[in-house]
Symmetry: C2
Subunit: 334 residues, 2 copies
């Protein structure tokens, strides 16, 4: 097995200089077609492949971007949200000829340490950070660094940070308004702690109540952690206060809530109406099917890649902030 060919070998074989080979490789102008063809022929015949590391050292570009998910494996792998997100990001990365590397952390400390390595290694052209948390040390670390990055979800303070988010506030508002229009009055909510998206949805819900002069009842408000089980528990907390409808801030939790309602022989939507958020598989496996708010997760992911690509290509690029619309999907539960 022959050793790896270098640009020098190609140059020698084609009877030109390294510089000319490089120019052909990078498609520069001012190369005589005859020479270009000759070099290209050698490249094709030998199957020469550029050494990316050497190229990176010279150009500072790797065409590799990273995706950071700090939520811990359990959360990631039990939540179809991430599957969809990663799929969207992965597809877009492919489209832009970027290689995607995923980094998953299991603890805050581990994450910070690894992030430090990732940043100083210099392999990555940029990062996408999927951070749900309101207060994220990773985010701060990243913001302080030189690394280009785009957030999935709104950053805690959004000045001068690129991000791609969906309109959670409006989604929450639409959800609550739908319930109000159906005539429900005691509308509860199951939200999630420490999560900015869930919080935005919550305030949308509050706004809707307000603008229809429906008083907010704290007893009709519970919080989970986006897991199915936490949805079931939260619903059990709400039940004694007799809501006639509940807006659950994720489909996953909504399917848990539904289980609780079934156990208590509460009919949905006749006794209690239920709304989810996400429009992901769990919503389609329940009985009755969940009425929910659709959020374009995959597009949010691909927009993030697009933004990152722009940041990489143009150092002067101002922060790019995207907020995608959410919309009502009426099925059976409300």
């Amino acid at each position: 097995m022959a050793n790896k060919l270098t640009i020098k070998d190609i140059a020698k074989l084609a009877g030109v200089s390294k510089a000319s080979v490089s120019r052909v490789l990078n498609g520069y102008q001012h190369v005589r077609p005859e020479l270009r063809a000759r070099v290209q022929k050698v490249i094709d015949e030998t199957g020469y492949e550029r050494n990316t590391v050497a190229r990176l050292l010279a150009t500072d570009r790797s065409n590799v971007i990273g995706l950071l998910i700090p939520s811990g494996a359990t959360a990631i792998f039990s939540d179809p949200y991430f599957a969809r997100l990663i799929e969207g990001i992965s597809r877009a990365a492919n489209q832009y000829h970027l290689t995607l590397a995923l980094f998953i952390f299991y603890s805050q400390e581990e994450g910070i340490e690894s992030l430090q390595n990732i940043i100083s290694d210099g392999f990555l052209d940029g990062l996408i950070l999927s951070s749900d948390y309101k207060d994220d040390a990773l985010f701060n670390r990243l913001a302080d660094s030189q690394m280009r990055f785009v957030m999935i979800g709104r950053p805690p303070n959004n000045e001068h940070i690129s991000f791609s988010d969906v309109d959670n506030f409006n989604g929450g508002k639409i959800a609550a308004e739908h319930l109000i229009q159906q005539g429900y009055q005691r509308i509860g909510i199951i939200t999630a702690n420490h999560n900015l998206a869930a919080e935005d949805r919550y305030w949308g819900y509050r706004r809707a109540l307000d603008s229809h002069s429906i008083p907010f009842d704290e007893n009709l408000c519970a919080a989970g952690d986006f897991s199915q089980q936490s949805g079931a528990i939260a619903m059990a907390q709400l039940l004694p206060y007799r809501p006639d409808a509940v807006f659950v801030t994720s489909d996953m939790m909504a399917s848990g809530a539904l289980q609780t309602l079934k156990q208590h022989d509460v009919r949905v939507p006749d006794d209690v109406a239920l709304m989810g958020f996400d429009d992901l598989p769990p919503a389609l496996q329940t009985d009755p099917l969940l009425t929910t708010i659709h959020q374009p997760i995959d597009e949010s992911g691909s927009r993030a890649v697009k933004a990152l690509k722009q940041l990489i290509d143009n150092p002067q690029q101002e922060p790019i902030q995207t907020i995608l619309p959410t919309r009502l999907i009426v099925r059976e539960s409300a």
Copy 2:
């Protein structure tokens, strides 16, 4: 913000040559303690960090390993198996000071193309391939390349390939024997198509039947794809043939099978006994709790990393093949 420090800057600041700084950095012997201390002091004070790319170009070591999962996002994110596997690998990588990059593919073609890039990029010191499939183009591509790699699961032909697997054959045998010992006679099986692990479990089951002279009935054999739903469907296929026990080759499918049994008002284990495989969360959320076969997934992952580390450190290293034992966990369903 000052520009990044290079080894040259450090050399100048410490009044020594680049070579000496490099020697200190790499902990070589033959460096006078006085000089070592002086250089170290400058490094500490300035917070100098080596440029990994330059180092990689010179040494051909990145300390980054990749994990390839070709199964497609949906499968990955709905199966707790992968969560556990990735966790094990991630922990071990950390332990060996390796950075882990995850690569997930959505189609065979995409995977092959990306793999080609990954291999020729030269960023990675090695790869871990989690391939369930019996016939995997990715595997062949990888085997043909120069890239060091370790498989999770037994490769199609295991000569001269490093892998880390669990003893699926024996696990299947133990499962069937447990059922036989409980006095069951019409023992069905739900296996999975195109999957080597499931196949090994199947042959273990066959062996157990054979050695107890229980005839194998093809009608009591169905196949799924490891998803919960496929387990439910497979069980529905089996039911008309009246098995008195069923060995399901994954907990996920077993929980689906359980749903079907419940729908048909079949009592478990009184009417039909049920066994799973994996000993993962699904087994603990069912009613009745699943009797199952435990496989040490996380350890299998960490062993793979350990093996890869050895392959990286020692070019002469012979293939390392690990097979970890599986064991019976008796709960309620059988």
